[in-house]
């Protein structure tokens, strides 16, 4: 009896264990399957990031700084915050927009559109660009002005806003690159609204050639221009030639005069041997005479040039830079002869700390010292 009872008990236990084991295995497999399915879904979702037809990207740059000048109080300054929006559809269209936020002396914030374009990639060698774009004349304004790229905390004399170098245009442009003679050529051709001549009633003179990229061409006079660049990759040498021509009208408040001749000529180069970065640029804007003008019948020339050399002390993160430039205008008070010497520290390739000493002389106006110490921390993102 006991033996029979023992056998029955063992059999019952075995059946029970088998049943439990079977149930556990089934649950485990289902759970595992669910985890695999979930992982598969996550992988598919992650893959969607890699090649969707529409891409959105926020880039840009910002900088903060400190200035101690001879003829004004020292000050901390929030230089620029310039987010750049990229919206791209496939390899066909890209919308690019850069906003520029700045804080002025009273603490107010100003916002402007630095550029906003719709780019259509026509083929491998050409893109159509429409909207407000940085002037393609020369190199500094279109490619070197972002503070994380510019190796000096200031723009070269004459290359700031509304000085000798055209800043922006509203119009259309074709640009691209193509192989030429075993090297690379690049080009930009545009038609735009052009500039206006800002009349200063107090001084009775044309104060500046304003090139902010005007949204309405009141005088209807267009400017046609462009730049051709030739790059020799093996020697890292590039040179560019720029030219533009059209009409520009003197503006006094809301009054516009008849258009007069307007021309821009420029030449630039870049050379990157070893740890050196050497570049230079010349740009000239001029407007012609207008015999019928009731303001100023004479023409005017605004021109500027600079050369800059930088050297990286690799493998350290230190860099030295020196720049010389001149800015010449019809008004002696605006002219500048400028030296800058500086030391930079590259926290990363896109994060740069700068310490500069800027010597500004204006012998045309009898000034021999308006020097500045400039500190800047710039981040390109």
């Amino acid at each position: 009896m006991n033996t029979q009872y023992f056998r029955f008990s063992v059999l019952a236990c075995a059946l029970g264990l088998a049943s439990i084991s079977s149930t556990y295995a089934a649950t485990d497999i289902e759970k595992l399957q669910a985890e695999v399915d979930e992982l598969k879904q996550k992988v598919e979702q992650a893959a969607e990031w890699k090649k969707p037809k529409t891409l959105i990207h926020l880039a840009g740059f910002a900088d903060v700084g400190y200035t101690d000048a001879d003829n004004s109080p020292s000050t901390f300054n929030l230089g620029t915050f310039a987010p750049i929006f990229h919206y791209q559809f496939s390899d066909l269209v890209m919308l690019e927009g850069e906003l520029e936020f700045e804080i002025n002396a009273t603490g107010a914030t100003s916002v402007s559109i630095d550029y906003l374009t719709v780019d259509i990639f026509v083929n491998d060698y050409m893109a159509f660009v429409g909207g407000k774009f940085l002037s393609p004349l020369g190199q500094f304004r279109q490619n070197l002005h972002p503070s994380w790229i510019n190796k000096v905390a200031s723009a070269p004399a004459g290359f700031g806003h509304d000085q000798a170098a055209p800043n922006a245009e509203v119009g259309i442009m074709l640009r691209g690159g193509f192989p030429l003679g075993g090297n690379s050529a690049n080009y930009a051709i545009y038609v735009g609204n052009g500039p206006f001549l800002e009349w200063d009633a107090a001084d009775g003179e044309v104060h500046a050639i304003e090139t902010p990229g005007i949204g309405t061409d009141v005088d209807g006079k267009k400017v046609v221009g462009g730049r051709f660049g030739y790059y020799i990759p093996d020697t890292t040498f590039e040179f560019g030639l720029s030219y533009a021509s059209g009409k520009a009208s003197l503006k006094d408040g809301s009054t516009y005069e008849e258009g007069r001749d307007y021309d821009v000529t420029g030449v630039d180069f870049t050379y990157r041997p070893g740890n050196f970065d050497i570049r230079g640029e010349f740009i000239k804007q001029e407007y012609g005479t207008l015999a019928t003008s009731t303001y100023d019948t004479a023409g005017g020339i605004w021109e500027a040039w600079y050369v800059q050399a930088a050297y990286k002390f690799l493998p350290s993160k230190w860099e030295a830079v020196v720049r010389y430039g001149e800015y010449d205008t019809p008004h002696a008070s605006q002219d500048v002869e400028q030296w800058v010497a500086g030391v930079n520290y590259l926290f990363a390739s896109n994060v740069i700390g700068k310490v500069n000493y800027e010597f500004n002389d204006n012998p045309n106006a009898g000034q021999t010292a308006n020097d500045r110490v400039l500190l800047q921390l710039a981040y390109g993102f």
């Binding site: 890209m94 060698y125 691209g176 193509f178 690049n186």
Partner: protein, 91 residues
Amino acid sequence: MLIKKTTLTALLSSVMFTAGMSSVVAEQETVGDFTRGAKAWSQNCIRCHNVRDPKELRDDQWITTTFHMRIRAGLTGQEVRDIIAFLQQSN
């Protein structure tokens, strides 16, 4: 009138240039090449700025960034595809 003629001439020239270029690209490649991309990346970025590490951005961000640079630096479409291939495969 002179300006209108100038503008018209410029636009016409542009269209003709576009047409001419289109015939050149009839047999263009559609994929990027890692080796050519590495060379184009090292030779072109330094024209204006410090070279950026491929690991700084995600793969999709490199696409928009490189197309942006196509406009800025006058790169060809093939150079862009090559550079994207290099950056994404090095990421």
